[in-house]
Symmetry: C2
Amino acid sequence: MIANHPEREQFRLENVLFALGNPLRLAIIDTLADGKELSCNALRPQDVAKSTMTHHWRVLRDSGVIWQRPQGRENMISLRREDLDSRFPGLLDTLLQVMHRQ
Amino acid sequence: MIANHPEREQFRLENVLFALGNPLRLAIIDTLADGKELSCNALRPQDVAKSTMTHHWRVLRDSGVIWQRPQGRENMISLRREDLDSRFPGLLDTLLQVMHRQ
């Protein structure tokens, strides 16, 4: 089953901010920032349960932050960089700059 | 009673993003963006209960987004613009630009 992804036009700023308003989800965005696609298992911290990650993937996917692509028994995750930059110009760049400054 | 406000150094990006990840709280930030101080009642939408706003003020205050200053029976609310700009350079400006573009 391929999960639903919102169209770019459906993104809402408050949903994206909510999705990123969590340390684990913010760290995932940082990991994916250079454009790579990683499996959900590769992105999962060892001390976090798969079911907990399922929730985080849904929040990130439903807000438009990530693509989730099924491959075998896993999902491959990547950042919707182009869509986010188009809808919210400068937001992702500013967030990444601020994160690396801290 | 003067409510607790975090020091600038205690701000966390994920908490600020969470605080702004809500349409009502995001709209309040837009209203306060030009530096004015308004009473909590002036900022409360007519269809939102005071108790609901108390929750929103707490989320905004605890993350470092607003100052809450008691005056008579009300609280006066203003944006912690200088502190936010210092800790997260460009974030507030980018968010306001994106909001006005939508």
